[in-house]
Symmetry: C4
Subunit: 252 residues, 4 copies
């Protein structure tokens, strides 16, 4: 019974330590994944990375087995979101020894699924979920409108700049790269308009486009505030008493 | 009667399928528009694009005729916003066979009107409309103030950089290009101040200007939240019960 | 009496036309100011610009005299904000004929004061004013904190990059240019870290700094919403009935 | 008694002057710190900077001694946040005369602690503190998710661009530099994708990533509004009567 609490809850000291240990292993495993791509890697480091990989696979496998063992409804856990993530985090390793070599690269990429294990420990993920539900329609609308804005910007700049820069603005598809880099304000500087018409067009595209492309971010932020409000109202979430924003409670 | 429901509503399964089919045709037609601008296009691909264009024209024409047929007030539909969009989406094709060749390029651009047909399917467009109405005055004010900020920035940098970079900052108009790219934080890197005075001036321009130029985005996002609130209050919009933000309802 | 209404109010048709006429003259005068800086300007254009300047000076002078004439308290208008702006908009022209030539350049810049005349026509400027009052303290705090963040970023990058790029990061002052361009996300690309330490430092600077430097914008936007709320509550501002956000009214 | 008020409070005129004097000394001392890094500095200027440093050390030491002297609980002040900052602001100077030369560079950097002394004078820092408490969970969540987004972007671009640009995208760590510069929209332009696959991948990364990476800023801004609301409700904070947003008070 206590074993189950350590693994599934994080209210006891042992439970928190277990969670921290798993999180540390996830991060270590992701860092070693990235380190393995370094070009000038010594054989000793490569050996060390392999050992780290073996140890983390062992830990994740033990965690997966333990989670199945303590689950009340075992099949339900196995096919739940986090159950599948836990499985995908270790599966590539076991498959890599049986399948032929060509599939290994994709299997290695599947190790990245481990990152999603980090989300389990965040209670706020539920809040994000309800925030996305609140702003669902606007987000969809602004995705469509933002897509249209980027497409129109690409078509427009293509007509202005195609003649002056036939390489950089070779087609509407090539111009899309400029439109994305500009409307997200990244502005690498590898392509930019040089004609007067193209510059004036860019001016208007930016004036209108920025308001469109960056609105979704504001929507998510304001929906998150609404979701926090909503959650605070429901009974059982009283651990935010002192800091919570009491926007709508009558002060009497 | 059922035919009318399929075309005008999207609550039945057939209605939703009809909408999805039209949306798919719109996107396909826009992609083929963009593909036609590719420089190294084979005759076979060009043939394929022509066929796609013919098919989508046929579908849009059939849709337009059907919408007129099912409309209760036919003239009203024809001169409504979406009725005109539907017409402009097919008109260029029929005109291109009758008018002389020079006008064809502009007619081809008119095919982009099809993108606006996508908006029909979004119920949230109404909400955007009322959000713009809520924040109308501030948006107008900040457009004027943002225009002033960009103009002042261009005049200032012209006086600082004109001597050091007579090519890039040749006049206030040339400097406007820098002002737009900087205050929207795109920063291509094709023009930037090199004098100490110009850099210090840029520092102050950014400190003040960013707050001005990027406020409209925040205004739209917060007005959208207000519009969602407003809509939720009105009777008949109860399909958001579980996720809606209940900011102002007394919890008793 | 009717003359006074035309000039001071914009509710009648004549009043609105008068306002539009003045606004058009302001914009024309600013465009001709910018056009005068163009390098390859023909004598005919220069002549035209001079005539435009003379006409706008005449219009602004007539407007200024008329505003004094219709004002109930003439001295109070002359020393009010808009009264002084109106004076500064025409003063440089009259001074330029009396003072020596060296001061003319600065006098020409003073013509830019005309842009502020545009603000008179915006009723929303009052709302911006109360929004700035609402968020005054946070804006001040975040200006100090943002200044500190930029200074710390400059000192840090100086220590990381000074040896590798002694030209670009010659001193903390030189590094400030990089810090401003980076934390405002402009990123011209004229200076950027090349050492591993400098890049890792930039990563942390961006993670922390963005949250600091771009908060003021969010503050202004949310304060503007609050100001709109506040205004709507006060009696006499009922022209926003249909669109206003009714966040806090009980729906019964 | 009056001496204590001047130092610890800023309600009297002398108290405000004392605060302004200390703030001026802090800024002067930081500017002279930055000036000392200038490459072509004359011996006279260096002498001047030394004198400024000596004077500010003298002022800060006097301030520190005075604050201890007037504190009711002296030990508590010494080990308080501001007490330690005050100590660290002067300690490096006194240590530099006793320790060996190698540690001096780090000691010099410690002079930057003086900047934190500026925070003492901001009453709004308390509000920021409670804002961070309100949005604590979302900020933590979005830090984790933003970290994951940057990591995934780096891994993805590594696989797309590694072959085409083996120098710039040499490993996942090298690609992280691109991911940070892109997702924060800085976009220096020193590294960017050149393959079609990399550009399409960047498009999707930006569409999803921007919403994730820039949400925390929106969260801080909206939490600050909530914190202002909260503070205004509590008795004793009535100095914001005229401008405060009365969002939740019934107007009757």
């Amino acid at each position: 019974m206590k074993f189950k609490q350590i693994i599934e809850e994080n209210e006891s000291r042992h439970g928190r330590n277990f969670d921290l240990f798993i999180q540390f292993t996830i991060v270590l495993s992701l860092v070693s994944f990235a380190a393995a791509t370094l070009p000038d890697i010594t054989p000793e480091t490569r050996e060390l990375l392999k050992i780290i990989e073996l140890i983390s696979i062992f830990i994740f496998t033990a965690e997966y087995v333990a989670r199945i063992y303590v689950a009340d409804k075992k099949l339900r856990f196995i096919f739940s979101f986090y159950g599948l993530i836990d499985l995908f985090a270790i599966l590539p390793f076991y498959l890599a020894t049986t399948v032929d070599l060509r599939a290994i690269r994709i299997l290695r990429l599947m190790r990245l699924f481990r990152a999603f294990k980090l989300l389990r420990y965040s209670r706020a993920i539920q809040r994000l979920h309800s925030a996305l539900k609140i702003a669902r329609e606007e987000l969809l609308l602004f995705s469509v409108v933002a897509g249209m804005a980027i497409f129109f910007a690409a078509v427009g700049i293509y007509y202005f700049e195609n003649e002056a820069q036939p390489e950089e603005f070779a087609s509407v598809f090539h111009s899309l790269w400029w439109a994305v880099a500009t409307l997200t304000t990244v502005g690498y500087g590898d392509v930019y308009p040089i004609t007067a018409g193209g510059k004036v067009f860019t001016f208007f595209v930016l004036m209108v486009g920025l308001g469109i492309v960056s609105v979704p971010t504001g929507l998510i932020a304001s929906a998150l505030s609404s979701a926090r409000e909503l959650e605070r109202r429901q009974p059982g979430s009283q651990n935010e008493q002192n800091a919570a924003c009491q926007l709508n409670e009558t002060p009497d």
